[in-house]
Amino acid sequence: MDLKDKLVSSFLAFENNVDVHNPVHDVRTEAIKNFETKGFPSKKLEAWKYTSLNGLQKIDFSIFPKKESSLEYKDVKKYFIHQIDTYKIVFIDGVFSSNLSETTHDGVDICLMSSALTKPMYKAVIDVYFNKVASKDESLTTLNTAFSREGAYIYIPKNKVPKKPIEIIHFSTGNDVALMLQPRNLIIAEENSEMQIIERHQSLTSNAVLTNSVTEIFAAKNAIVDYYKVQNDVDSASLVDNTYVDQKDGSHVKVHTFSFGGKLLRNNLNFYQNGERIDSTMKGITIIGDKQHVDHHTLVHHIEPNCESHQDYKGIYADSSTGVFNGKIIVDKIAQKTNAFQQNNNILISDKATINTKPQLEIFADDVKCSHGCTIGQLDEEALFYLQSRGIPKKEARALLMYAFANNVLESVRIPELKVRINKLIANKLGVNLGFDL
């Protein structure tokens, strides 16, 4: 049975474990129909031209974890930003781990999607927000919607700021089988609220893992959301990340994506600006090698006037790795005085590495400032010699140049300990023991 059929037939089993009378289930039923019609995206679709899911579909993924696993904090501590205190929403093989988590209901809700979807006290919020910005059409998103049951639920009321950053971590242990996960996150920042989130998917097994994640973020008037995605998984793990952001007047949402590990990574990052004076920022550093594949598809839809968007993606590709950057900017006719900036710079370290980069601008307003640029280059040999001539070995000199090429993306990271961690991950990825302190 192919993966699509398996998923569709698993939906029946899934229904035995959820409340089918909950209105949420109508949403799921609608979604599985869409997925059944569309199936997995094929390379014939323009948006999937350079990213093939064919190989993954041949794997016999288990749709539900076979048995529950537990993990000791000391064994997985290194995946947390443990230098600081954080709220933690942690899942093991898709199942909430209460002993690794630190949730709260103290003035803010930092807890579980499974509670939010089932408990009456959350119904009003779920009615307003659940599946409201996520696509009802894109097949992998609808696949996730169909199986949506667990994930992080974060609700920050008006004028509130949680005491500390929030970490959302998904561990997979494999439990001797290949596993497909469908985490579903809902994040709501009410007026004037502010939060910082770090998200990570980490496989602890060499069994294949495929995560198809959907995150909906709602930023109300003047809310501030900083979202950091740390993608440094093992090379048997793949991730399709579908993130949808709905922004209202004066809100600032930043998403940083650090892609260093994993077999296949596809980031679909969609921003909808439903208000004025909105700022949307998307930044990324991608450093990959071997046969890794990272695909960033971004969309920012400028719907109202006087808004800004900033995109800055840096990519470094070694060995036979492949990269894709596709940045779509839509500026509606009434969205005058829009400022939209997009930058994608890449370095190819090997002859066999490739990058496909494409800006896609659809601008219908006439009074806008829009700039985009993409570059593909190599390391500067002269700069390399300069560093070497000062006693810095070639490998370290190359690493320093690569770090220098990408590090402006880190300027907007507002959690210093996270910045240090990213520096370390970059040094590891480049195989050097350098501090990279600026």
């Binding site: 002269e382 001539s389 000062r390 810095i392 220098a404 090429f405 590090n407 350098l434 600026l438």
Partner: protein, 276 residues
């Protein structure tokens, strides 16, 4: 065709195997050095000996190969050494990478220092010093010693502290770049310093500061090779020997009086002599 190439490669290798590995232990000894880039010969048989405690000046018209010589000594692989040898303290350095040459005390002050956005001067110097220490089996320099050293050397070259947190050479004026090169030299304390047109782009005050920096570092144990067009710098850094490089060869050597003669008469007479 392929066969022919292979043959040539093999003979070249043979020749290299016959090379001398040891020489007298002058600090720097260059014997019959030929180098080319993209098949074009640039250095055409350089012979030069520099002893510890000496200052040598290399002068010569533009395009004669001065920077190429400096680059080849520092190990720049853009240039292919087609014949000849370079010995450092008696050891043939042909197989040493640029960083290994640096660890052995070679320093090149670049004619055109490279701009490196995203790497601060301080971080660069820390990395350079600690990597050199690592190569010698030493621990990283303690942060406070590093700061002290940076403070001391930046004061010597009258470099503003703010300057040190800026990206290396990015947006620096010509003079700032050169001063920064000598600051790096002061930090690294090389045995053999090659200063490639360090005077160009410097006003008279900066020239004095730079020359003072170089002179402070001079001792009987290290040597300086000054590449310059002008007599001006040589008034501050007084050479023991002056060489004229023209068309890939040292065509004339002398003492500091030769530099003055060149200043007066220009290079035409050298070119004419060389043509004969």
């Amino acid at each position: 065709m392929l066969g022919v190439f292979r043959l040539i490669k093999i003979t070249l290798k043979k020749e290299k195997n016959n090379k001398e590995h040891k020489s007298s232990d002058k600090m720097l000894k260059i014997k019959d050095l030929h180098a080319s880039v993209e098949g074009k010969g640039i250095l055409k048989g350089i012979n030069l000996e520099v002893g510890a405690g000496e200052v040598h000046a290399i002068m010569g018209p533009n395009g004669s190969g001065k920077s190429t010589l400096a680059s080849v000594i520092a190990g720049n692989e853009t240039y292919e050494v087609t014949a000849g040898d370079i010995f450092l303290n008696g050891e043939n350095i042909e197989d040493l990478s640029p960083e290994e040459r640096a660890h052995n005390g070679v320093f090149l002050s670049f004619q055109y220092p490279v701009e490196i956005p995203g790497v601060s001067v301080t971080n660069f110097m820390k990395t350079a010093i600690n990597e050199s220490r690592k190569a010698k089996g030493l621990e990283d320099m303690p942060a406070k010693d590093m700061l002290k050293l940076i403070r001391e050397k930046s004061e010597l070259l009258e470099i503003d502290r703010k300057f040190l947190s800026r990206s290396l050479n990015e947006g620096f004026s010509g003079g700032e770049k050169k001063r920064n090169e000598i600051f790096q030299m002061a930090m690294l304390e090389p045995k053999l310093a090659i200063l490639d047109e360090t005077d160009s782009g410097l006003d008279i005050d900066a020239l004095r500061i730079v020359a003072n920096g170089v002179n402070k570092l001079k001792s009987k144990d290290n040597a300086v090779v000054v590449i310059t067009h002008y007599q001006r710098l040589l008034e501050y850094i007084v050479p023991d020997f002056v060489h004229v490089l023209y068309n890939g060869k040292i065509v004339k050597s002398g003492t500091k009086e030769l530099a003055m003669e060149l200043e007066e008469k220009g290079y035409d007479w050298i070119k004419q002599e060389a043509a004969v």
